[in-house]
């Protein structure tokens, strides 16, 4: 069971929900939590365990070899990202723009653009009882989150069966990294806050999930601040609001100390139960 925790707006509580839900469920069964916000992973601030694996992750980028190059220009024509350009008598490669699609390399008639592995980041895996925690982090200077997210997903898929609960902490927004995180999820939880900004970005996230044809529901965090527009929007769009987490200074204090919340805040535990029961019920019944 793959559940992605995403949002439109950043800072709405994806990591709070991901880490607390993962730790709570792991009290009874095996859970894998994967932090795919590879530009700034922070689930690890709340989840502590023994480091059981560490791997460098590489992406392949072309490197120009001038020996046999005929300067035909095929490479720059096929690159959608302008990562390869031809200047009079040379080919210039921009590794930061490269999406590792291999088109320039494969379609080069003289084999002048071999793909060379370049380190982009690091994956770490921790374990604490039933809770397995995987996080990946991009190296400083790397701009492409998607290849690292894809490789991290592959690692988790190869190591853990889909029978167990897999939670994915997504980056914010609605761009390529979020698509990469959510595209294989069975259910997506969109975390938002009841503010105009929260609503604005939630509508973008909803449009994205509909485009991807995903099952999804909304968790309203910091409930009590702002206004009722998020709730009204969900009602009018027939989107299930599966839990509401009340705004609380106590939560902010515990969070700021890197502590999990559900052990100390019983209402939060109730909301976690609601979230999981809803998602599981929805998937068991095969609803859309």
């Amino acid at each position: 069971m793959k559940i992605a925790i995403a949002s439109g707006k950043g800072g709405t509580g994806k990591t709070t929900l991901s880490t607390n839900l993962a730790a709570y469920l792991a009290e009874k069964e095996s859970v894998v939590l994967t932090d795919l916000d590879v530009e700034e992973p922070n689930s690890g601030l709340f989840i502590h365990g023994n480091l059981i694996n560490r791997e460098d992750k590489y992406k392949a980028v072309p490197r120009w070899n001038s020996d046999n190059c005929t300067l035909c220009g095929n490479c720059q024509k096929v690159c959608n990202f302008h990562a390869v350009i031809q200047l009079v008598d040379q080919i210039m490669v921009f590794p930061e723009l490269c999406h590792s699609c291999y088109a320039c390399s494969e379609l080069c008639p003289t084999g002048s653009l071999p793909m060379i592995p370049e380190k982009m980041g690091e994956l770490r895996e921790y374990q604490s009882g039933n809770l397995h925690f995987v996080e990946s982090k991009l190296d400083v200077g790397q701009e492409q989150a998607v290849p690292l997210i894809a490789q991290t997903n592959k690692y988790v898929d190869e190591k853990y069966s889909d029978e167990i609960i897999k939670l994915y902490d997504s980056p914010p927004g609605t761009s390529c990294p979020v698509i990469e995180v959510t595209k294989d999820a069975d259910f997506v939880i969109l975390v938002t806050e009841p503010t105009p900004f929260g609503l604005h970005d939630l509508t973008l996230a909803v449009e994205t999930m509909r485009e991807l044809d995903k099952k999804f529901g909304v968790v309203v965090n910091r409930y009590g601040i702002g206004n009722d527009d998020v709730i009204d929007y969900c009602e009018s769009e027939k989107i299930p609001v599966i839990a509401k987490i009340s705004n609380s200074r106590r939560i902010a204090e515990l969070y700021s100390r890197g502590r999990l919340l559900y052990g100390e805040i019983p209402e939060l535990k109730d909301e976690l139960v609601k979230v999981f029961d809803f998602v599981k019920g929805n998937l068991d019944r095969g609803e859309t």
Binding site: L87, E96, L97
Partner: protein, 112 residues
């Protein structure tokens, strides 16, 4: 001397476009022949990734001696321009092309 400006239009009175990669136009002034021409770069709006290198590649083809712009090219574009031996002057973001040219002549623009 061939001087290229990043601009928002095709005339001397056009404002400098402070952006390099996503500049709307190149205004091209050939000092020897006293000829002014322009290149419409607005198609760059449809390019999501790699605007810098692509615009730099276009500039490369124009073979200017000097580029006058606002903020200066980003890292990728600078790499392309670096291989072309073009002198780059920045800080003209608030001027018209005419004003920028005069400022350049007086040595008031900063070399990138």
């Amino acid at each position: 001397m061939k001087i290229v400006f990043t601009t928002k239009g095709s005339e001397w009175e056009s404002k400098i476009d402070p952006r390099f990669g996503r500049t709307e136009y190149f205004l091209i002034y050939d000092e020897e022949s006293d000829e002014l021409s322009s290149f419409d770069n607005r198609a760059i709006n449809d390019v999501a990734h790699g605007a810098g290198p692509q615009t730099a590649q276009k500039l490369f083809e124009l073979k200017p001696d000097v580029l006058i712009t606002g903020n200066g090219p980003g890292g990728n574009a600078a790499r392309v321009l670096g291989s072309a031996n073009i002198k780059i002057f920045v800080g003209a973001g608030e001027m018209t092309a005419k004003e920028a040219f005069e400022a350049y002549k007086k040595g008031e623009l900063k070399e990138f």
